[in-house]
Symmetry: C2
DNA sequence: GTTTTTTATTGAGTCTACCTCAATAAATCT
DNA sequence: AGATTTATTGAGGTAGACTCAATAAAAAAC
């Protein structure tokens, strides 16, 4: 038969180029289907190679995921570091971190979901490669918090690592809420709500504070009155 | 051979009993190995039956997980509801919810990890069965928050659902931190740290400013007194 | 330009784990 | 005791991760 299906033409590419190509396909496929649903055959097909080729570049499906994660974290860290350098004040820096994280979630949700699902609960995977990157990333927020305590902007009795967990955990859950409700994530509004709550707390301000200011004013009025009457008496 | 390996003796059991037995084994195996690592053969072996038997009680491995989750949530909801009924005041109720959740994590960590990993990121699974239970559970905290806003104990501009995410997300991340550091979870201390931060926020109280306002007024009163006596002395 | 060497690429094949189903035998009913 | 029901079995089927000897494209040597 002259019209037999053309077998895929073999082409050899420089190692680095093909590796990048496979990595790119992996990122796309994982992001779309999730780790469990994605097959190595899918990734190979997307990259235009055959399954075996993938395994000559990456030891396993898991290793492929780790490589994808590494790329994700590296750009995220670089962007966050750059952004933090351009913001002054602890409060604003925390607001920046929160917003940055929300934007990352919103713009690359598929991959974020995979990373959260696969990386966090898997101790083995953490030990291997991602733990250090994640530490470096969330360490950025941690340092801001520690500076806040040192400079007295933040309470001295807070535990920075707990606050960091509150920030990232809160963001994660809030984002999921949006995903389930099938609405677009309203980054700006959500970022403010989270930041306001974390910074200011949720219990109503001690109204006594307000009235004590008022009380101070009232006392000053009495002072004035007493001075007036003193003066009047001395005049008479 | 007379001493051939005894084949497993077949025993028929009431449907409900065997189902409970398999479910119990599933819970144990999932909890120990995680969903991905656990095999249906493992579960069957633990229950003392053969793989096929499992499938005559549960449609799939996934269905087995869902059943395990359902059991987990049902007791958790019942316990939390009971506990909340015995605590007065919004602040204390929130503290109770936080502590209860931490205790559940600490005492049944293996299963919690599986549920978080498998249930949350899997939309299909949520739709099927667990969404409603999770909603009911976290709804308990939500109602406390709403009551807090209604009665004026909490700020009126907070968004209860966001605070709920902050609470549960924060707990989750904080617990993971402990797991990675391979230390026992210090439930009491962590619960207080989380609750204090969420309730009171992290920025330093302006109450110091307020009290200094009051202090200033009191000093002014003393100034007035001195002026009075000065005047009186000058009169005499 | 031809031959040799190197190695990227291939695809057939292995293995493990989920799941199916016809056969079997334990309990129950008549 | 025999008939009936159905829980239980274990031998496959299938999908997808992973391996490896063969192949051919590029590079090197001549």
């Amino acid at each position: 038969m002259a019209t037999a299906i053309q077998p895929r033409r073999r082409t050899r590419r420089p190692r680095a180029e093909r590796e990048a190509q496979i990595l790119d396909s992996a990122r796309r496929v994982f992001s779309e289907k999730g780790y469990g649903e994605a097959t190595v055959a899918d990734i190979a097909a997307d990259a235009g190679v055959v399954e075996g080729t993938v395994y000559s570049y990456f030891e396993s499906k898991r290793a492929l995921l780790i490589a994808v994660m590494r790329g994700f974290f590296e750009t995220l860290i670089a962007e966050t570091e750059a952004g933090l350098g351009a913001v002054r004040g602890v409060e604003n820096q925390l607001r920046f971190v929160i917003r940055q994280q929300l934007e990352t979630f919103a713009s690359d949700f598929g991959l974020c979901r995979v990373i959260i699902r696969e990386a966090r609960p898997d101790l083995a995977l953490y030990d291997e490669a991602i733990l250090e990157l994640n530490r470096r990333y969330t360490g950025l927020a941690l340092r801001v918090l520690e500076e806040g305590v040192a400079t007295g902007v933040l309470r001295e009795n807070i535990v920075p690592s707990v606050i960091r967990d509150l920030i990232y955990g809160g963001i994660e859950h809030a984002v999921w809420r949006f995903v389930f409700s099938e609405r677009e994530i309203e980054v700006a509004a959500l970022a403010d709500q989270l930041a306001d709550s974390i910074l200011g707390g949720i219990v109503r301000d001690r109204s006594s504070e307000v009235s004590s200011t008022l009380e101070a004013a009232i006392r000053l009025e009495r002072v004035a009155e007493r001075l007036e009457s003193s003066l009047e008496r001395s005049m008479s």
